[in-house]
């Protein structure tokens, strides 16, 4: 479902409808939100929220990926979920939390649209269609978080790296990722050497090509064969819970 090439074949500048949630809304709801949607560039490493901070906006990524990291009291952090064009970042805002429990960092540069907190809350409360869609997305996100937790605990760094690469690829056009090993290490909550070793093994086996912060996935099929079940569980759950790209594409065209 998440191959952007099937969904949005153009290379035109991102429209709000490149975000799956926005693309799924009825014309009426979409038109109501549109004047409040503000297009923003999301450069690599940009921090959208700090954990414990308040949120001014929710973000709908279009061609970027945002990583949600949980930060412990002692400063250690681990990625608990990634969100790209299929979702939004900042659910605490409409779920009623005063502050966000995680840090949100742009993991793959691109763009997105943002909506002011007050507008988002008001629309969420007033519009059942929007509310249902965002709550469904919340359930999908919970599944990704729980699966990430179990994967981190039980699977090898190789498998976790494969999962991470596939989840990222599904949210991008093409098969290239721009990423330093240090950032990957932070995401996976492992030491840099661990990532280096895992990436070298994948490279030696011809699955990826890694150089100077660029990862090129050369054999996606074998990456899928090597990954643990966690990738498939999350993907199936997202397919089940979120609107299909076909619906989104129809909405984008219509």
């Amino acid at each position: 479902m998440f191959d952007m090439r099937n969904v949005f074949p153009t290379t035109a500048p991102p429209s709000p409808k490149q975000n799956l949630l926005l693309a799924t809304l009825s014309d009426e709801t979409y038109r109501r939100l549109l004047p409040s949607l503000e297009g923003v560039p999301l450069p690599l490493g940009m921090v959208l929220y700090e954990s414990g901070g308040t949120q001014g906006h929710v973000y709908f990524p279009t061609d970027s990926i945002v990583s949600l990291l949980y930060v412990l009291a002692d400063g250690a952090s681990a990625e608990i979920a990634v969100t790209g064009f299929e979702g939004l970042v900042g659910i605490a805002l409409f779920m009623g939390g005063e502050t966000t429990p995680s840090r949100a960092v742009v993991q793959s540069a691109g763009h997105g649209y943002r909506l002011r907190a007050s507008v988002c809350r008001a629309q969420f409360d007033a519009n059942p269609e929007l509310q249902h869609l965002l709550l469904r997305f919340t359930q999908a996100l919970i599944t990704q978080m729980t699966q990430t937790a179990v994967c981190n605990r039980h699977h090898s760094i190789d498998q976790q790296l494969c999962r991470w690469l596939l989840l990222s690829l599904d949210r991008l056009k093409g098969d290239h990722l721009t990423m330093t090993q240090e950032l990957i290490a932070n995401m996976l909550g492992v030491r840099r050497e661990g990532v280096t070793e895992a990436a070298s093994r994948l490279q030696a086996d011809g699955l990826i090509d890694y150089r100077r912060g660029h990862i090129h996935v050369t054999d996606r099929n074998r990456l899928e064969a090597r990954v643990c079940e966690c990738y498939g569980v999350v993907k199936r759950e997202y397919d089940r819970l979120l609107p299909s790209p076909r619906t989104a594409q129809t909405a984008a065209i219509g």
Binding site: L72, A76, G97, E98, Q139, I142, C151
Partner: protein, 247 residues
């Protein structure tokens, strides 16, 4: 009249709470019962009172990991409130005791009828997600002994008793470690006179000492749930009757 209650229900306005009560049936959850398997249709939701339900994500056929813990601060079956009728986790009764049960159909009806219910459940889901994230990060970085101490205190807070049943196998799923790892951690805590562990039963001997042995995650999660207002609304009489007969 003791103010024992599920705090999610207690946070509802009085009228809504009364309305909910007519659809709630008291049940006693039994240790080891599975309320849902992943993929199961959710037929009932549960509001624990002095019981404890563990949310587990199974993996690789034989392993599992506890991703969240639900006691009187919350409810079991949150996907229903998010518009999904199927459970994504295994919900396992970890602490036997009373709970209130409502059918899925009735719960959906009440969600529509009582806007405050949706608001309260959303707020609870927010804290549950924070708990899930905290647990995930804690599992990643903290040593088994500190995690076991945290887990014991979280359990104690929810069942409101310092003694509970617990097998090595359960604990290994809870903490995501092998049974030998559980044995080592439990032995270490026992040697420090913080707990007593025998024949599937754990007794907390030194609460303050155990708190000192935990990672920070215990207080972080506790404070999250304490942010949810505990109401002083008395428990319905049928619950009190059940509790006093169980005591």
């Amino acid at each position: 009249m003791a103010a024992i209650l599920n705090s999610l229900l207690a946070a509802l306005p009085h009228k809504s709470y009364q309305r909910m009560l007519s659809g709630l049936a008291p049940v006693t959850l039994t240790f080891g019962d599975i309320l849902y398997h992943p993929g199961d249709t959710i037929r009932d939701v549960f509001f624990p009172i002095e019981s404890l339900v563990s949310l587990l994500t199974p993996v690789d056929g034989h392993l599992a990991l506890e991703v969240g813990m639900v006691g009187r601060e919350g409810m079991v079956g949150v996907p229903l409130a998010l518009g999904i009728g199927v459970s994504s986790v295994r919900a396992l009764v970890q602490g036997a005791g009373p709970a209130l049960k409502m059918s899925a159909d009735r719960f959906r009806t009440e969600l529509h009828a009582i806007p405050a219910l949706q608001t309260e459940v959303n707020l609870y889901v927010h804290t549950l997600m924070a708990q899930i994230s905290q647990t995930a990060a804690c599992n990643r970085f903290h040593v088994v002994e500190a995690r076991l101490a945290r887990w014991l205190l979280m359990t104690r807070d929810r069942v409101r008793s310092g003694t509970f049943r617990m097998t090595h196998e359960f604990l290994s799923h809870m903490l995501g470690v092998r049974r030998v790892g559980v044995t080592e951690a439990a032995t270490a805590l026992q040697r420090r006179r913080l707990i007593e562990y025998s024949r599937g039963s754990i007794k907390i001997l030194d609460h303050a000492g155990l708190e000192a042995a935990c990672c920070d995650c215990y207080t972080v999660v506790r404070d999250m749930h304490d942010g949810v207002v505990y109401s002083k609304i008395p428990a319905p009489s049928f619950v009190e009757a059940r509790l006093s007969s169980a005591a």
